[in-house]
């Protein structure tokens, strides 16, 4: 059994009146699990390059119901199949839904490792509170996910070009159309066999348009709630029309740089004080998601101690100026699906000057190749080439 590191819940103002005590069980229990094996087998393409992201689902899923009267029902692992959802369910109307994304990897030593899953479960619980969905126990969720991975372990490709993407989710299934706390919910988790996310050779191109905003002070940008994603789909389409891969999100009147696509971002630059600095926007603003890969990159960089490492805000203006002055050496994104990916170009819609400015970043030609070193190190930890037990939860087969 892996040790579960204790992470304190992020502080956010919840009044006492909101903390509910009505549940009969504080969490679903692994001990009550029932398993129904699937007779069907998903077919996978033999070439891992053809897997794509989140297209090939494995054979089983976790399904747990909750209602306000009885609390959590016994968890089930059952064959992967459609949900039956009442058309008035709150999830379909008011987006009462949260999710997580994490991965399991088939290691070079034949062991299956999940990367820091306790951090995802703690974040999911924070999202649940903000979305007024029920709380659960991190340890029980981890045990259930281990069991799900075990059940479909033979599907994980034995290569370091692929992984098992794990998608825990929770949504409101209450059948009343009034906007309010749901009386019923479902916690589910399924997995998808996944290849690589980006073409890392070419570098990622970002569109920075201050008129497209992902999150704002007083909103829910720091939680993994479904509602943060729907508005970005159209913007992603706009980015594609400009030949970009993702949108880079700016927020506020001063155009603070926050995220790119659904990922965190990092910049290696020579700052105004002529210091070499790795900088990523601070999560204190509440505007960005506190990514697990983000946290891991920060921890590795601090451990290596090659440069100053900062969590601080910077604006689009600071960024554009630094790029023009050739002070930005590397710019990269981080996320579970992408690991670490280099950014080669930012297309900036500069409204003041009325121009579209193409800012080229020499990430891939940088001397230091920090992004590559981070990518390789994280990948080595994922696939067990490096042992870092506190970051690797081994699923015993």
């Amino acid at each position: 059994m892996q040790k579960i590191s204790s992470i304190s819940l992020a502080r956010f103002p919840i009044s006492n009146a909101c903390s509910s005590t009505r549940r009969t069980h504080s969490s679903f229990q692994y001990a009550n699990l029932t398993v129904e094996k699937s007779t069907k087998k998903q077919r996978l393409p033999s070439d891992p390059d053809k897997l794509g992201f989140g297209r090939y689902f494995s054979n089983h899923m976790i399904d747990i119901d909750w209602d306000v009267k009885d609390g959590w029902f016994a968890p089930k692992i059952r064959p992967f199949q459609n949900f039956s959802i009442h058309p008035a369910s709150k999830v379909l109307h008011y987006a009462q839904e949260i999710f997580e994304g994490l991965k399991a990897y088939y290691g070079v030593d034949g062991k299956i490792r999940v990367f820091r899953p306790e951090l995802n479960m703690e974040r999911m619980r924070r999202s649940a509170r903000r979305a007024t969905l029920p709380d659960f126990n991190t340890r029980e969720a981890l045990l259930l996910m281990d069991e799900l991975i075990r059940t479909d372990a033979d599907m994980i490709p034995k290569t370091d070009q692929a992984s098992l993407y794990i998608r825990p989710m929770m949504f409101a299934t209450d059948q009343h159309l009034g906007i309010g706390e749901s009386m019923q919910a479902k916690w589910a988790c399924f997995t998808a066999i996944t290849g690589s996310y980006f073409d890392y050779e070419r570098g990622i191109r970002l569109l920075a348009d201050p008129e497209m905003v992902r999150s704002w002070k007083g909103g829910v940008g720091q939680y993994k709630m479904g509602c943060n994603y729907a508005p970005t789909i159209f913007v992603g389409k706009m980015a594609a029309m400009h030949g970009c891969d993702q949108a880079m999100w700016l927020s506020g009147d001063n155009r603070m740089v926050t995220e790119a696509g659904a990922m965190n971002l990092f910049m290696l630059w020579t700052n105004e004080d002529n210091e070499l600095e790795l900088i990523t926007p601070s999560t204190e603003s509440g505007l960005l998601l506190p990514g697990i890969t983000r946290q891991s990159v920060l921890e590795l960089a601090r451990e290596w101690n090659l440069m100053k490492v900062s969590e601080a805000n910077f604006t689009m203006c600071d960024l554009a100026k630094a790029i023009r002055e050739h002070r930005v050496h590397e710019f990269f994104v981080s996320g579970t699906a992408a690991n670490v990916g280099p950014v080669s170009e930012i297309l900036h819609c500069d409204k003041e000057r009325g121009i579209m400015e193409k800012l080229l970043i020499p990430t891939m030609n940088s001397k230091m190749q920090l992004y590559k070193r981070l990518h390789t190190t994280l990948s080595d930890i994922h696939y067990g080439r490096i042992e870092k037990p506190e970051w690797q939860r081994v699923v015993e087969l």
Binding site: S15, N16, A17, C18, F53, G54, R55, F57, N82, F83, S84, I85, H86, P87, A88, V91, L92, H93, Y94, A95, Q96, E97, F99, R129, R130, A131, T132, R167, M169, H176, L177, G178, I179, G180, E181, A188, F190, A192, P210, E211, M212, V213, W216, K217, G218, G219, V220, M225, G226, C227, N228, Y229, A230, P231, T232, I233, F234, G236, K237, G261
Partner: protein
């Protein structure tokens, strides 16, 4: 088969005057001739393709005895409409079938990324026993705009209204025979394709469910208390506050609980440094006052910043107010300092929300969080004591129009 159940070819809806298209047109409407030029299921589904699956005798539910007691969104009628869409084939045939659970893939975009939008509208049984919908083309135009923003498929307003009409014909006995009740209709559009990438849906489903709702004010107007705290926001520039996307609602539920814990029924949504008033709960907000120049004025925040849902009731009140010409009618940004000043100078007479559910909802109190002192201030709004009766007149007039007691050219659609 009874006549009402046969498939009916789409009629011409000539009586929808161009005025309505104009008022719906803040809202980029496509010239309708263009849509009807050719049969193209990539652009819309068609009323004429409608397939109806009748309920067996066992599937029909008993209707509630006293519809006035029905709570919103707890009782549903017998039928629902569904229509599937895929990127490759466009819209399938629309279907009306007995209401039942939807089969949704666990990886469907709607369950993860809130790829969803909806509308709320009502059908009323008039005093002449005719069933009518209130300005459905306004809701459908808004639904189309929302669909574009949500990267979900487009459709034609009139085809949709044709299908809604058929649904109402089948469920006509569910439209309560009472002039305080109505049948609430909930058109919904969701992204259903099972791929986990955050991107455009390649499959979608439109569905409509309906349900009778009782009297909103069974014992007369109940003034509401509002929590006004600029630490929480509903919408922001560059966001989607002007669209009826599901994602605008999820974050408000927790704030609603916060309000309830302070004995407030709704949230007054403020925006920005100046604490501009934007919406109240899920309603638009109106204020009737004597402005600084001494004019009597009805005021509501404007749509241009994209922070406010363009409500159908909001639009109707503005149009009626302008038609009556009894006071100045203004759409402009309004902040908390102005409200506080007007209250102190006793120039603020009425404040009310407007929406489909209640038509109007009087505000009695605002619990205002002062961000400078970090203290709560209680502001009493004298709406219920107003001698001007502005809100009351709106309520009566809209009700009279909805229940067919007075005819407002082009606002009601007969079924």
């Amino acid at each position: 088969m009874p006549a009402i159940l046969s498939r009916v070819a789409p009629r011409s809806f000539n009586y929808v005057g161009s005025r309505f298209l104009a008022s719906a047109a803040r809202l980029e409407t496509v010239p309708r001739e263009e849509i009807h030029k050719e049969y193209d299921r990539k652009k819309t589904f068609y009323h004429r393709d409608l397939e109806i699956q009748l309920a067996g005798p066992g599937q029909l539910k008993t209707k509630p005895l006293d519809p006035t007691k029905l709570k919103f969104g707890h009782t549903y009628a017998d039928y629902m409409m569904t229509c599937d869409w895929s990127q490759d084939h466009g819209w399938h045939h629309p279907k009306i079938e007995p209401i039942g659970e939807l089969k949704i893939h666990p990886g469907a975009k709607v369950l993860h990324y809130a790829s969803e939008l909806f509308e709320g509208m009502k059908a009323y049984r008039g005093v002449d026993n005719k069933i009518r919908m209130f300005r459905p083309e306004m809701n459908m135009a808004r639904m189309k705009r929302t669909a574009i923003r949500a990267a979900l498929p487009d459709f034609d307003c009139e085809e949709m209204i044709g299908v809604l009409t058929e649904l109402l014909r089948l469920d006509q006995e569910w439209v309560p025979n009472s002039d305080v009740c109505s049948l609430y209709m909930r058109p919904t559009l969701i992204g259903t394709d099972p791929t986990l990438g955050v991107g455009c849906a390649t499959e979608a489903k439109m569905f409509v469910i309906t349900g009778p709702v009782g009297a909103y004010y069974s014992t007369g107007f109940q003034p509401v208390s509002l929590l006004a705290d600029s630490r929480f926001i509903r919408a922001f520039p560059g966001g989607v506050g002007a669209y009826k996307m599901g994602c605008n609602y999820a974050p408000t539920i927790w704030v609603g609980k916060e309000a309830a814990s302070k004995n407030c029924q709704q949230v007054l949504w403020l925006y920005g440094e100046n604490e501009d008033l934007t919406e109240v709960g899920t309603m638009n907000i109106f204020l009737f006052w004597k402005n600084e120049e001494g004019d009597m004025e009805l005021i509501t925040p404007p749509l241009h910043r994209g922070l406010i849902l363009p409500g159908v009731t909001r639009d109707s009140l503005l149009e009626l107010g302008r038609e009556w010409g009894e006071y100045k009618v203004t759409e402009r940004t309004l902040n908390m300092q102005e409200v506080k000043k007007a209250l102190a100078e006793k120039r603020l007479y009425e404040m009310f929300g407007s929406g489909t559910a209640c038509v109007v909802s009087p505000v009695g109190k605002i619990l205002y969080h002062n961000k400078i002192t970090d203290e709560y201030e209680e502001l009493h709004i004298p709406t219920m004591a107003s001698k001007y009766g502005v809100m009351q007149k709106f309520y009566n007039t809209i009700n009279d129009i909805q229940y067919g007691r007075i005819i407002k050219d082009g606002w009601m659609r007969d079924i």
